[in-house]
Amino acid sequence: MKIDNDINPVIETKALTKYYGKARGIENVNIRINKGEIFGFIGPNGAGKSTTIRTLLGLIFPSSGRGEIFGLDIVKNKGEIRNRIGYMPSDVNYYPALTCRELLAYSARFCRNADPGRIGELAACFELDLARKFSDLSMGNKKKVTIIQAFLHSPELLILDEPTTGLDPLMQKRFFDLLHKENKKGTTVFFSSHTLSEVQKLCERVAIIREGTIIKTEDVKDLRARQIKKVRIDFRDRMDGRIETLDGVKVPQHNGNTLSFFFSGDINLLIRQLSKCNVENMEIMEPDLEEIFLHYYEKGEEAS
């Protein structure tokens, strides 16, 4: 269910900036997330994803700029905002001496509308043994505790900071199913990650952050649909050097008689040129976000 609500975005930041002393955290971050969206937030480690999230949550204070969640100021109305959001931190650290059940019950008692019944339900879904002590759990199991913790009060907004690290593929799938289910009910999801494939699977829109600045925010569809193809050609004999010089060829790579590159030019030109060659095999693929992402980064590096 996608509700376009341009008047009242769930999250909106304006020139949000955070410096740790002189060290850069984030600079001029502008994000606008609409109700019912699954919004991806991608960037490598240290790009400022967690800083942005922690600023939104009121754990740290912005150096300048402002942000609103549900139209409430992130600095002034922290308490009210937190009642309505579920947060999954990237590093899981809870009170080690407690059992999972105690931890989750403790967490639930803080929330206005937590449903303790959901704890058992979600634990069963993720195959988590609630009687075990938190400190005895594996990384993946610890992650499950945070999932349950973030979902048990049916929040209107989920802020997920690299939620899938440590989860095995089966659990990842269940987690995504749960996310979709919640999203269908109208929950907005803000999802940060450094692996693009999962963002690709889940998100509708995505913001790319690098060195503290948002490079681009766009629809995942548009990203994929852009005229970039991934091409791989196996030549039977010697390689045709002219192909590399064609307009629109990017990042060419040789490997013996194989040439691979990204192509964003006129496909007819490529076909015409190829007709003059002795080609053994060729592939034209959709590049995945990972590669588009890399492409953005290289562009960024060229510019700088």
Binding site: P89, Y95, P96, R109, F110
Partner: protein
């Protein structure tokens, strides 16, 4: 305040709290169990001898140790109190407070706690309330252990500190009728009375007996002076008057001190004479001396042959009369309140550390350092009256442990000091917490 958070904090504090409370109570009671042993003659005589060496006297003062005080169970309690309860209690207090918030950062649970739908102020007050409750219980348990220990180990032979007004009147009357009887019962001689005044005389000679300069005086010279005084202070005084320069040199006095000394020996004679005469005229003054410094007069090791009940009957008092109070409960409770305030005050320092130290780094060291530094600043300042002023840097100084002082009571300026410090430091901690970036 958030009850959920409070309960969790209690749970987290439970184990260390139980251990600390139990150990401190046991130490208090064990410490008091030594009392009957200390009261035995030989041990006491040794301690007495040590305290007569001037250098030792200063050191003992630094540790709040005074033979005339040890003879009373309440004072005896304070000597142990100051070591175990005050110091250890303060360490526990400052450490617990310093971990209240920093532990969340250290264990990285701050990210969880500070994303719950409660304000930082609520978190602060919930934790502070738990801390305060723990301190109240800890202090109540220690105070009760102290009372239990004193009740268990008090002994009739112990020194008498407080004499109630009617009994005092009766004793003074009996005394006036027959001074020698009193002297006999309590085995007093003129020498005791001279020794009682020895400290005062010394100060007459030198301006201040406990001056740090005194430590430069050769112990042999000091012994000579004290012995001279014990033999006959008047002869000593005559000698000093005859050759002040020689004595001035011996005592290493110069400049103003020497002038004070000259003035002192001029007046000392009159004062000594006056003291002696007034005592002869009204022997009931012994009762006052007896109240002021019971250790001097009522050395229990001398009065052993007279049990308390026998002395009482000789005075025509019912042997069951509660003439002597082992300790005064009201003063004891006031002292306990001071100790509680001190611990809370140390805790508020800890609270500030809790929000200032990054991830609770080196909390243990900083807490220990601060507490021990304050403790010794206070101890050292007790060596001499001149150094007393600088002791007020330390909160320890604001605890009045002198429960033998007849005027002992709850001083509002002390309470205000503690309460003020707690409010200022607590407020500052809250301010910092509200403004700071939470480390995750």
């Amino acid at each position: 305040m958030n009850l959920n958070l409070c309960m969790m904090e209690f749970r987290r504090q439970r184990l260390s709290f139980v251990i600390w409370t139990a150990s401190l109570s046991v130490l208090v009671i064990l410490g008091l169990a030594f009392y009957p042993m200390v009261m035995q003659k030989d041990f006491s005589a040794v301690v007495d001898m040590i305290t007569r060496v001037p250098v030792m006297k200063g050191l003992m003062a630094a540790f709040n140790f005074d033979l005339s005080r040890i003879g009373n169970i309440a004072s005896f309690y304070i000597i142990y109190n100051s070591i175990y309860v005050i110091l250890a209690g303060c360490l526990y207090s400052i450490y617990t407070a310093s971990r209240l918030l920093s532990r969340e950062e250290e264990q990285k649970t701050a990210e969880f706690l500070f994303t719950r739908p409660i304000s930082r102020m609520t978190i602060f007050f919930s934790k502070a309330a738990v801390y305060l409750a723990l301190m109240i219980v800890l202090n109540a348990v220690i105070a009760l252990s102290g009372i239990a220990g004193m009740e268990l180990f008090k002994s009739e032979e112990s020194l008498i500190t407080w004499v109630s007004e009617p009994v005092k009147a009766k004793m003074a009357a009996a005394f006036r009728q027959n001074p020698s009887q009193f002297q006999e019962y309590f085995q007093l001689s003129e020498k005791d009375y001279i020794l009682f005044y020895a400290g005062k005389m010394m100060s007459l000679f030198t301006g201040s007996m406990a001056r740090q300069k005194d430590f430069k005086v050769d112990p042999r010279v000091m012994k000579e002076l004290i012995d001279g005084m014990a033999d006959d202070p008047f002869i000593l005084l005559e000698k000093m008057r005859a050759s002040p320069e020689e004595y001035g040199k011996k005592m290493k006095l110069s400049g103003r001190d020497y002038e004070d000394f000259l003035k002192g020996i001029k007046q000392a004679g009159f004062e000594l004479e006056a003291m002696k005469k007034s005592l002869e005229a009204d022997p009931s003054q012994y009762v006052e001396i007896f109240e002021m410094e019971p250790g001097r007069i009522l050395d229990p090791f001398k009065t052993r042959q007279y049990t308390l009940s026998r002395i009482l009957s000789r005075f025509g008092l019912d042997p069951g009369t509660r003439v002597f109070i082992y300790y005064r409960l009201d003063n004891y409770l006031i002292l306990s309140l001071y100790i509680f305030l001190l611990m809370t005050c140390m805790g508020s320092i800890g609270l500030l550390l809790s929000v200032l130290l990054k991830r609770g780094k080196s909390t243990v060291g900083v807490c220990m350092g601060i507490t021990i530094a304050f403790y010794f600043i206070n101890s050292l300042s007790n060596i001499a009256p001149r150094t007393a002023g600088f002791g007020y840097i330390s909160p320890f100084k604001f605890v009045n442990t002198d429960i033998l002082d007849p005027a002992y009571g709850l001083d509002w300026w002390r309470v205000t000091y503690f309460a003020g410090l707690v409010i200022v430091l607590g407020g500052l901690s809250l301010f910092v917490l509200k403004k700071k970036d939470i480390l995750v």
